[in-house]
């Protein structure tokens, strides 16, 4: 295994796990225990919280007519976090601290919830206008207010 492979290994593992989640959920419409344990192992404690967000159907996939998409995740206190499809970023403090600053975690619970809900097809769908989408992407508005 080359150094490059080693470098990207953890994210590759995470990627593969999410694929497994999608595959398994499509086949069995449930996530078996060992996959849950694997998620917990790779994503740490945010796996549990992300699954809780999934259970509460807190993830909304917002799409505009021009094809732009973003995920909006309703946090526990009702704050809405916008996560992007093209890169990993979440405005939540945990992302800033554990992912960006400490590099302790691959993702925050909101991004993981967006991934998992996408893999399981459990995200709410919402279509917004391009104008609304641009304000969502620039962090100014929440789609659910409309």
């Amino acid at each position: 295994m080359t150094d490059y492979e080693m470098t990207s290994c953890l994210s590759a593992v995470a990627d593969q796990l999410l694929k497994e989640v999608q595959k398994t959920y499509q086949e069995k419409t449930q996530i078996p225990d060992d996959l849950l344990i694997a998620l917990r192992f790779v994503f740490g404690s945010c796996a549990l919280q992300a699954l809780d967000l999934i259970d509460k159907r807190s993830v909304t996939c917002v799409s505009s007519f021009s094809g732009r998409r973003a995920y909006q995740v309703m946090g526990g206190s009702g704050l809405l976090y916008t996560c992007y499809t093209s890169c990993h970023y979440c405005p939540c403090p945990a992302f800033t601290y554990t992912v960006l600053r400490r590099n302790d975690s691959l993702l925050c619970k909101h991004i993981l919830a967006a991934y998992l809900s996408q893999a399981m097809g459990l995200s709410q769908q919402e279509t917004v206008s391009d104008q609304q989408m641009s304000s969502i992407l620039s962090g100014r508005a929440a789609a659910t207010d409309t």
Partner: protein, 957 residues
């Protein structure tokens, strides 16, 4: 170990944190500024630190190691001395260790204000002149107190819980984070504080700033010598005592503080019941206790050699270790035990090796041969803490571990390595211990996971939104009606459904019945009421607004039943549509949720229907078998004692194309009323076609007005009317409960006078009364039997309508009144009037045009009325009469029979009493003794105690 080395090591772990003042000082010192200024500010800094020592209880136990003592001595005198050029160089270092970042502002505040008691001892005073031993003791106890209080400082940092569930908490944390914004303040939550405490002695004494380099040692030594001269033995022993306290106290704090990050996880809000999070939480806690138990066991058990021979144990030799975001990845060589059986890789790329599945443990690992397989093993932070994997080590990984194959890569990844044990360390370990693990740079945030999915759903350049809706994802593989993609067992499907949401994969069932249930009580009945009363409705007719939910009783090939609650029907006539489309056919159920599990005891009426479908006409599958067993002699057992209520949408039921009516389907058996009456079963399900000869709606007093309740229908059929057969009841009462849908056509038919024909499907005969319940379908039966209805499963059909038609030409026979007559039934009565209920005998005029009783005396004419309802002059009002009489009936002896007579009967009675006069009024005596009957009457009430008392109402058939 030399001081130098230790200091260097810790300086890596603990960043040099200086007071803001100290930064200036260090700089100033470098620039060669006058030492006295530095002394002052440095002693200020120390003073802040030293205050903390004041209240610390002095611990008399002096049993700590001599080494520590030495460090303390090195430290303490220097602080006590305060002044002097040597001290200046060391001072910033001490403070840097002891005061944590988050306390900085506090420290500053305290430095500006007079320090807490005793306030007179400012740092400047202490350090500016040499003090006696007592003073130094006092100042050190203060210093100790400060140290102790400030050891709480890291606690604040430790409390940072980046994974906190609550965003509010996150926000608070953000503040904390921003407070310690500069990189040097970042402290590892789990490790930093223990390190701080274990490292305290050398660090307190000689934590230099990095710039000082090696020259730091010499001043310390000279400082010590100075102390020995100036402080004297007594003060040193005091310092030792206080320093001992300093050494001890933080230890206690450590144990307390170390729990903080763990504890902060326990403030969890409750997870949704049956959710994924709840399941993981349960698994997690189970795993945690398993790990701690295993660790306890693995410490006590030293027999390692035997472990190799246990199946499922991975024997790995570490080749290299890298760290990425608090996980360590070890590239290892897999040494398979000789006994291992290797199997081809399974379909799924993630597999778990556990104790129950030991045979499958190694199958995902590449086979070993001359070239040993390499695997990549992931260790989480806790395991790394225990294991400290390093190249050359041999590590056993005990099951359950998991292996994951990444698409396009050859190496297997081993996950879930909680049960790992180092069995061999490289001999060169000692020299290797300081070699840090290579840390990978963080992965690129622009590299999103699950690329396939994103690319698939993001059309570039097309102005079309492609939604990945819940359904489309759920139904991938499900919408394809391949047999293999379906379940054939409802129970399996429901179990598979788990708590994960709607059922994506289809389950094959046979729709036995389609019916609908009313969603709201008030609906059809409200309009019916207005029609019956013949008034303009006070409540607008709400038949159109009535909501009926479509339901289907389905059965799988194992015999299990479920009720699927589907969408609301916009119009009740559509029931017929769905019946013909679904009933009797094999359908695929999709996107179903479990609503409730119900048992026979609670839903006896539903189970009456299920019992009528049992035993099934074909042999059922048995659990575990996939093939139909064609062995009809095998007993089918009792009907299921429970079933599930499921919910879904219209699209949830999809008939399998091209399949005829299923062999499992049992169509409703139409019985004659005589058959039903003669049935011995106390509670059973029945279907019949009958003539409704009379109907009665019972009202319940509601909040505002009377709420229509049950509808009683008096039915008969030719089997009851035939004169030649042995005597039997001629009519039968059917009660339509409020849970049975009364369609508008049925409501209209029963509210209009005259007989009508109706089909009753799946009514329940309960204790002699036929009830139409939730599952029953009551439909108007066209008198002309069209052959089309024969093929449709929805309506009960047969040869009865024709017979009914023939029978309808003859007058309906009723049972004579008898002591056994039940209420809500019809009978004929003959008798002699013995008394008149004079309290209820009265007459009143009504409008001869519209029938309204709202008449006013006309102002112009004395004998005329003005009708308020139709605004017309009523010259000759119709006179309505109400008369109830008691009769002596020959068929019912020793009882009171009261009958409310109809208008025509009253008239004939009175006219006969006083012929020649049109409206004479009447005398009671003229009526008494008159013979009545035979009259058709409806039994309103029967009271049997203390004596038989029957209230009848004459009806017109």
């Amino acid at each position: 170990m030399s001081f130098q080395r230790k200091r260097k090591k810790y300086s890596k772990d603990i960043k040099c944190i200086l007071f803001p003042d100290d930064d200036v000082k260090v700089g100033a010192r470098k620039m060669g500024i006058e030492p006295s200024i530095i002394t002052n500010s440095a002693s200020n800094s120390w003073e802040r630190c030293g205050d903390s020592f004041l209240n610390t209880p002095l611990i008399k136990n002096l049993s700590s190691s001599g080494k520590k003592w030495q460090h303390v001595r090195q430290q303490s005198p220097a602080q006590a001395q305060g002044g002097g050029p040597h001290y200046e160089e060391e001072e910033p270092v001490h403070i840097a260790w002891s005061s944590s970042d988050s306390e900085l502002s506090d420290g500053e505040a305290q430095a500006k204000q007079p320090a807490p008691p005793p306030p007179s001892h400012t740092g400047a005073q202490q350090h500016s002149r040499p003090r006696g031993p007592a003073a130094s003791k006092q100042s050190y106890s203060r210093a100790l107190r400060r140290l102790c209080t400030e050891t709480h400082c890291p606690d604040d940092l430790l409390k940072i819980d980046p994974d906190s569930d609550s965003e509010v908490a996150d926000d608070v944390e953000e503040e904390n984070i921003s407070e310690c914004g500069s990189e040097r303040y970042i402290v590892e939550p789990n490790q930093s504080f223990p390190k701080l405490t274990t490292a305290e002695d050398p660090d307190i004494s000689d934590y230099p700033s990095d710039e000082e380099g090696d020259s730091a040692d010499t001043p310390t030594q000279s400082c010590l010598e100075a102390v020995a001269v100036k402080g004297g033995t007594r003060s040193v022993s005091d310092w030792v005592r206080s320093a001992q306290a300093a050494l001890q106290t933080p230890q206690k704090q450590t144990t307390k503080n170390a729990k903080t990050p763990e504890d902060s996880h326990k403030k969890k809000i409750t997870f949704q019941r049956g959710g994924l999070a709840e399941r993981l939480n349960r698994l997690q806690s189970r795993q945690r206790s398993a790990i701690s138990f295993w660790r306890h066991q693995s410490i006590s058990c030293t027999n390692r050699s035997s472990a190799v021979h246990k199946p499922g144990v991975l024997v790995l030799e570490v080749l290299s270790v890298q760290e990425e975001s608090c996980m360590q990845m070890a590239l290892c060589e897999h040494h398979p035990p000789a006994t291992d059986q290797h199997r081809p890789p399974s379909n799924t790329s993630i597999t778990t090796a556990d104790q129950d599945n030991l045979s499958a443990t190694d199958h995902t690992l590449p086979p070993s041969g001359p070239v040993r397989a390499r695997v990549l093993v992931l260790f989480n932070k806790e395991t790394v803490g225990q294991l400290a994997p390093a190249p050359g080590d041999v590590i056993y990984v005990y099951p359950p571990w998991q292996s994951l194959m990444i698409d396009g890569q050859h190496n297997t990844i081993i996950l879930n390595t909680h049960f790992s044990q180092k069995v061999y360390s490289d001999t060169k370990q000692a020299s290797r211990v300081l070699v840090p693990v290579v840390k990978c740079s963080p992965y690129s945030l622009a590299r999103t996971f699950h690329q396939v999915e994103f690319n698939k759903t993001l059309p570039v350049g097309h102005g079309i939104v492609q939604k990945v809706s819940a359904q489309s994802l759920c139904c991938i593989g499900g919408s394809v009606t391949r047999r293999s993609s379906r379940w054939d067992s409802l129970l399996e499907a429901i179990e598979g459904l788990g708590q994960a949401g709607p059922l994506g994969r289809g389950v094959e069932v046979v729709v036995q019945r389609v019916y609908c249930t009313p969603v709201r009580e008030q609906s059809a009945r409200a309009s019916l009421k207005s029609r019956v009363l013949g008034r303009s409705p006070t409540v607008p007719p709400s038949v159109q607004n009535s909501k009926n939910r479509l339901c289907a009783l389905v059965q799988d090939s194992y015999g299990m039943f479920s009720v699927v609650q589907l969408h609301l029907l916009p119009s009740e006539d559509q029931l017929h549509l769905y019946s013909s489309k679904w009933q009797g056919r094999t359908c695929i159920l999709r996107a179903i949720k479990v609503v409730q599990r119900v048992t026979r005891e609670r839903y006896s009426r539903l189970f009456s229907l299920i019992d009528s479908l049992w035993p099934p006409p074909m042999s059922l599958k048995i659990d575990g078998g996939t093939q139909n067993v064609h062995n009809d002699s095998r007993p089918k057992g009792p009907a299921p004692s429970f079933c599930y209520f499921l919910s879904g949408q219209e699209s949830s039921v999809e008939p399998v194309e091209g399949e005829p009516v299923s062999t499992l389907y049992l169509r409703p058996t139409v019985q004659t009323l005589r058959d039903i009456l003669e049935c011995e079963l106390s509670c059973h399900c029945c279907s019949f076609v009958a003539t409704v000869i009379h109907s009665r709606i019972q009202y319940h007093s509601g909040d505002v007005a009377q709420v229509p309740g049950e509808v009683w229908l008096i039915v008969t059929d030719p089997s009851l009317q035939q004169p030649e057969v042995p005597p039997c009841r001629r009519t039968l009462a059917v009660c339509m409960t409020t849970s049975c849908v009364l369609t508008s056509s049925v409501a209209k038919a029963i509210s209009t006078p005259g007989v009508c024909y109706m089909s009753f499907r799946d009514a329940v005969k309960e204790h002699g009364v036929i009830l139409c319940v939730e599952q029953s379908v009551v439909q108007l039966q066209p008198l002309v039997c069209c052959p089309q209805t024969e093929s449709q499963g929805g309506a009960v059909s047969g040869s009865f309508p024709q017979t009914l038609q023939q029978a309808s030409s003859q007058p309906v026979r009723l049972d004579p009144l008898s002591p056994e007559t039940s209420p809500n039934s019809l009978c004929t009565v003959t008798g002699r009037i013995v008394s008149v209920d004079e309290d209820t005998a009265y007459s009143w005029p009504i409008c001869n045009m519209c029938g309204s009783d709202r008449l006013e005396t006309a102002p112009q004419k004395t004998k005329a009325f003005h009708c308020v309802a139709c605004d017309s002059l009523v010259d000759r009002p119709t006179v309505k009469m109400h008369l109830e009489v008691f009769i002596n009936c020959s068929t019912v002896k020793e009882s009171t029979v009261k009958i409310k007579l109809q208008q025509s009967t009253i008239k004939s009675l009175l006219n006969a009493a006083s012929p020649g006069q049109e409206f004479p009024g009447y005398e009671v005596e003229n009526v008494l003794g008159r013979e009545l009957g035979p009259l058709s009457s409806y039994v309103r009430m029967v009271t049997r105690k203390p004596t038989l008392w029957i209230s009848l109402e004459e009806i017109c058939l």
